[in-house]
């Protein structure tokens, strides 16, 4: 029996904009098992990204709790949350979000620096990760010199820089053509096989079919 790496209980998030309250999540209970490959699927604007932000400690819930690898992260202060993100989570975003002024290798090195990897070990570690995503030869290229698919693979290498317990991805293939999408998915399958927990948010059913588990979010709730 595998154990849950993420467990949310009655998780809710609402935003107040002027006099209008928007309920992005309305009481979500979910469990994600360690080493699983899970897709969170649902239409745009129904709370998938909010759920990912809460699970990843980028945002705080209005109500309910998130337990990540045994820690109730809704009780952590900003500094502890940042440490948790640096220690346990690897994020990949739809728009790659690489630091534009830095090369591929430097982007991975920054994540290593923040994870506390000594400078001497960063260069070899970064090259190894870039090699793993098939981009060793692009190590000294800047994001503007790479295709979308290549940038997203660099982003995956960066997300792995801290050897995270869980990879959280928000529409990682949303901006890619099908060839690049296939490459990214191949890397994710490989990572999953190696034992990484992969959580992927998407609105693309074809992507969702490749996951072990699918959680559907609609109107801020889990629907089956």
């Amino acid at each position: 029996m595998s154990e849950a790496i993420i467990r949310t209980t009655d998780l809710a998030k609402s935003y107040l904009s002027g006099d209008v309250t928007t309920h992005a999540l309305r009481g979500v209970d979910l469990e994600i098992q360690k080493g699983s490959f899970t897709c969170i699927i649902g239409p745009s604007g129904h709370g998938k990204s909010t759920l990912m932000h809460l699970v990843g400690g980028l945002d705080r819930p209005t109500q309910g709790s998130v337990v990540l690898d045994g820690t109730d992260i809704s009780r952590l202060d900003n500094s502890q949350l940042a440490k948790l993100r640096g220690d346990k989570i690897g994020f990949v975003f739809q728009f790659f979000n690489l630091l534009q002024g830095l090369t591929a290798r430097e982007n991975v090195e920054v994540a290593m620096m923040l994870a506390g990897v000594p400078e001497k070990e960063q260069a070899s570690g970064a090259l190894k990760l870039l090699d793993m995503v098939g981009l060793a030869e692009k190590a000294d290229s800047k994001p503007s010199q790479m295709s979308g698919g290549q940038q997203q693979r660099v982003a995956i290498a960066r997300a792995l820089a801290n050897d995270p317990a869980i990879l959280l991805m928000d529409e990682p293939t949303g901006n890619l053509d099908s060839a690049a999408e296939a490459e990214v998915m191949e890397i994710l399958r490989k990572l999953h096989k190696e034992g990484k927990t992969v959580v992927l948010v998407t609105h693309n059913n074809e992507i969702a079919k490749q996951a072990e588990h699918v959680i559907c979010v609609k109107d801020g709730r889990i629907s089956s």
């Binding site: 990843g56 993100r85 640096g86 830095l102």
Partner: protein, 386 residues
């Protein structure tokens, strides 16, 4: 990758903005250093001059203010009421040595030089002069000149050269050894000759007095005042007056410089605020990667401080260059011509290090608010920023 490397990469990414922001702080610090080093050199010259004045008391007209006293010493102003008769009366007082000086201005090759009429026989022991080249004035009838060391060097004068003062050709008889005082840039001629050339009658500029017993200085001041109807100031008072004038000028200049540094600080704030807006998404990425608020704050503060340190260094270099080039011109005014006119700039390590530190501190203080703004962004807000 380290934080400092990341900071340097960030700051040099937008070269145009980097250069212009840097120029702001460079100009501010350069003007600060220029004024500071010129003021500093002026002050040290005055201190040196006072040590070399060789007098304890200076007799000038009654009630002359500090500016008038400086003007008298520099030859800008000839007091109307100090005559040879007064000089003789002062000489009659026991326990002091006195010497009259007539200071006038002239020019050699269109460059200003100070001409002093002196009693040659009394002046040499009074000042403790020694000859570098040639001979000293032989007496009151000797219609020739003795020039200071720096003046001889500047105008290529040596024993046998001639100079023209008020249309009269005078032979240079000798060159004095370097004294480190204003005497180095002065031409000395016998008193009567100076009085004739400048048609001053029997008037002199001031009388320098040396007191045998320093403990009785106050008493001598009183005696001189009673003997001749003139004012007496001690060299310390005189120095204080000059320093206060120079100090006022200095403070004014430094305030102008401080304003330019302040303007540069706002330039840094502006640049850093723009950077926090532009790099909002980047801040979110760093937060997602595990950067704490403290780390974001440090990155932005270091960027700001980097402007300060680099701007400080370039500012000090530019400032010292400017003050070295400008100092000889500035030394030609009424205040500064009192001191030795060679116009050397003082490169003081305290000024150099202090200015760079000042620049860094100003830049860091300027960076606090933008850094705080950057650090308090919420990760989701920052990362979702389009």
């Amino acid at each position: 990758m380290t934080l400092s490397k990341l900071v340097i990469k960030n700051i040099t990414r937008r070269r145009g903005r980097f250069v212009f922001t840097l120029l702001g702080i460079t100009i501010g610090i350069a003007s600060f250093v220029t004024f500071l080093s010129m003021g500093g050199s002026l002050k040290s010259e005055i201190n040196r001059e006072s040590a070399a004045l060789g007098a304890n008391l200076v007799v000038t007209p009654m009630g002359a203010c500090a500016y008038e006293q400086v003007s008298i010493l520099t030859g800008e102003l000839l007091p109307p009421n100090i005559t040879m008769e007064d000089v003789a009366k002062i000489k009659g007082i026991k326990g002091l040595t006195s010497i009259a000086v007539l200071t006038q201005k002239s020019a050699i090759n269109n460059k200003p030089v100070s001409i002093n009429g002196i009693n040659s026989a009394e002046m040499k022991p009074f000042k403790g002069w020694e000859m570098d080249k040639g001979a000293y004035l032989s007496g009151e009838d000797d219609a020739s000149a003795v020039v200071g060391f720096a003046a001889a060097d500047q105008f290529k004068l040596q024993p046998g050269s001639t100079i023209v003062v008020r249309g009269e050709r005078l032979q240079v008889k000798g060159v004095l050894k370097e004294t480190g005082s204003k005497d180095d840039v002065t031409v000395f001629v016998p008193m009567q000759l100076a009085q004739r050339l400048y048609k001053t009658g029997d008037k002199v500029s001031y009388v320098a007095v040396k007191v045998d017993n320093l403990a009785l200085t106050d008493q001598y001041i009183q005696t001189i005042k009673e003997t001749v109807n003139l004012g007496v100031v001690s060299d310390k008072q005189m120095l204080k007056s000059v320093l206060s004038i120079v100090g006022t000028v200095n403070i004014t200049l430094q305030m102008i410089a401080a304003v330019s540094v302040l303007a540069a600080a706002f330039g840094i704030i502006n640049t850093m605020m723009t950077a926090t807006y532009e790099r909002k998404r980047e801040i979110g990425i760093l937060q997602a990667l595990g950067a704490k608020q403290r780390t974001i704050f440090t990155i932005f503060l270091l960027e700001s401080g980097f402007y300060g340190v680099i701007g400080g260094i370039t500012g000090v270099v530019v400032g010292l260059l400017v003050s070295t080039v400008a100092a000889p011109y500035i030394s030609q005014n009424a205040f500064t011509s009192f001191v030795k006119g060679s116009g050397g700039t003082l490169i003081d390590p305290v000024t150099v290090v202090g200015s760079i530190l000042f620049s860094a501190v100003v830049a860091i203080v300027a960076g606090v608010y933008p850094a705080w703004r950057a650090a308090r962004l919420s990760p989701v807000e920052a990362i979702s920023y389009e």
